[in-house]
Symmetry: C2
Subunit: 346 residues, 2 copies
């Protein structure tokens, strides 16, 4: 292998998170208002003794994050906002403003952009967020969307990845693997269509999977519930790259490990049936399928009464000492070490 | 012309600003903290009775905004931050935090990204700004950089594009056309090199032009000066797309017109000589060359004493009633209507 090839391989070897660490390790925080920089779902900027602004950003690239051959533009616009809103919710904060930067090839008709913005505006209405700025430029290759978002919260309510304590319960909202299987169905039908355009795609019966892939809803309702029941999770993160990856983020930031019970994972019957149909393991879909945009959080055991029996919450495990491995434990009590597959963009 | 072709032409016909207007006209501001949305150099978010946060974003795309064949990556990193800082300064605010999102092809060696980030970190040090977050993803085509920035200011100091009043003086900082001519020299030498790689590029003697193109410095010193001399401009904008375009933005937002005197434009001898060498009109370079990242502002005539004789400031004209045309007036007193050529990305 030549020197050049070695260098070209390095991004793959580092992975996205390693790359971010490498590039931002020299970031030196100088402003006293910067309470939290790189390393959580959003940065935290102090605005008063009691309140902070949260700031986050996400970039979506055609062919990497979405495929316009089966994602309607309006849904893409809605999803792009949801993905950003989810980052602010993961800090237990209220999303408020977004900016939208757009790279488009000149072949894009204005009507298509208007369709995209219909989705963006609809999401802004849904989440009560204001579109306040952006940038529009040409792109030589497909559609690029870069959204930044601000949120606001009382400091005492903000949740970081780093607050989990040994014996805390690990809780996840909604169900897992759904979005990933939606994507697999869309890819399968696209493959069939490319081989024979006469054959109509078979999407009937997969609506709940496809809907969650194409237009996921960020869990603002969960943040409202926390507020109502007076709960501040000890740590929180949103599930964009898969449960395994996110649980390990919390473990790393909190200097602890996690034990997760596969039997406790919230997996719908539809996910089990579809995984079976596609020869996939539903537990792997739940652990490593991405884009669920559910929330993963930890709570002190004393808060168990507040969350038990809530239909949106599943207790899936607990926080362990960092001297242990992070484990996925099955119904026979055999354990495997959790490794993050997540999404590999590189 | 087919229907499809008609549609494809529409983005060109609308132009960047028309497109932004079309896409954001349905943006409905719902949060009381949103004091200013789309339409200025930055959005304004209220954080207390006396203070606001400013938020802006810019996207830079390889082959559209920069050419890696002659822009060193470190300079590109520095410039990307400067461009964003300039938007916050144009609101008369102090830049504080940035997020950097990156799209890269996997062929990019990590060393090249580290070089880019050296420039980003150097600019953060220079402007006293904190890098607090971002996103990193793969791109199928070249390098993409999307930066968002926050700033902070006392509300009473914030300058909008909309505050210019009839008879206000129009003032510009530094000199104009420099960056544009730097780009022309780089393009010329690249052309020569492509035709005959044996010929060394002739860049000697053009340093000030090339430096301003490759690594412009946002005018934080000017904002400090305003603070020292107790001046709050009535309107302000930064010059990214060319003086003509920016002056018309102020005129439109302030519902007025402008008269600018070509003899008053700050043009260096080097710009005149280089324009002559390249068969360009130096006044056109000053009016329509982009990327100067100087500040264009208006002040009440009663503030003239505060700015006269300052080496960074040139009074270039005055604000007129909107019933008049916006004019560029030459030394013989003949006037032409100002039209914005600006940068056409589409």
């Amino acid at each position: 292998m030549s020197e050049t090839e070695k260098k070209h391989r390095e991004i793959d070897a580092l992975g996205e998170f390693g790359l971010i660490e490498t590039l931002t390790k020299d970031a030196n925080l100088k402003n006293p208002s910067t309470l939290k920089g790189v390393g959580d779902d959003a940065a935290e900027i102090e605005i008063s003794a009691k309140e902070s602004i949260l700031l986050s950003t996400d970039m979506l690239i055609e062919g990497v994050h979405f495929n316009l051959s089966y994602v309607p533009l309006k849904s893409l616009g809605f999803k792009a906002v949801s993905v950003n809103v989810s980052d602010i919710l993961a800090m237990n904060a209220k999303p408020e403003q977004i900016t939208v930067s757009l790279g488009i090839s000149s072949k894009f008709p204005v009507e298509a952009l208007e369709e995209l913005y219909k989705g963006i505006h609809a999401a802004c209405e849904f989440y009560n967020v204001d579109l306040v700025g952006g940038d529009t430029t040409s792109s030589s290759s497909g559609l690029l969307l870069s959204i930044s978002i601000t949120g606001r919260a009382a400091k005492k309510n903000i949740c970081y990845r780093s607050g989990a304590k040994e014996n805390d319960l690990i809780v996840v909202t909604g169900d897992l693997g759904t979005s990933y299987l939606g994507l697999q169905i869309l890819e399968r039908e696209k493959g069939v269509f490319l081989e024979n355009p006469e054959i109509q795609p078979k999407l009937d019966g997969y609506d709940e999977l496809i809907k969650k892939q194409i237009q996921p809803i960020a869990r603002q309702d969960v943040i409202d519930t926390f507020n109502e029941i007076g709960l501040v999770p000890s740590a929180m993160i949103d599930i964009s790259d898969g449960l395994a990856s996110e649980a390990l983020h919390i473990a790393k930031a909190s200097e602890c490990s996690v034990s997760i019970y596969s039997e406790k994972l919230p997996i719908t019957e539809k996910v089990i049936l579809t995984a079976d149909e596609l020869n996939l393991d539903p537990y792997m879909c739940a652990m490593n399928g991405g884009e669920d945009y559910e929330l993963l959080f930890t709570v002190s055991q004393k808060d168990y009464d507040k969350i038990k029996n809530h239909p949106s919450f599943s207790v899936i495990g607990f926080v362990t000492d960092k001297s242990q491995d992070s484990l996925l434990i099955d119904k026979n009590n055999s354990a495997v070490r959790i490794s993050a597959q997540g999404w590999k963009h590189f």
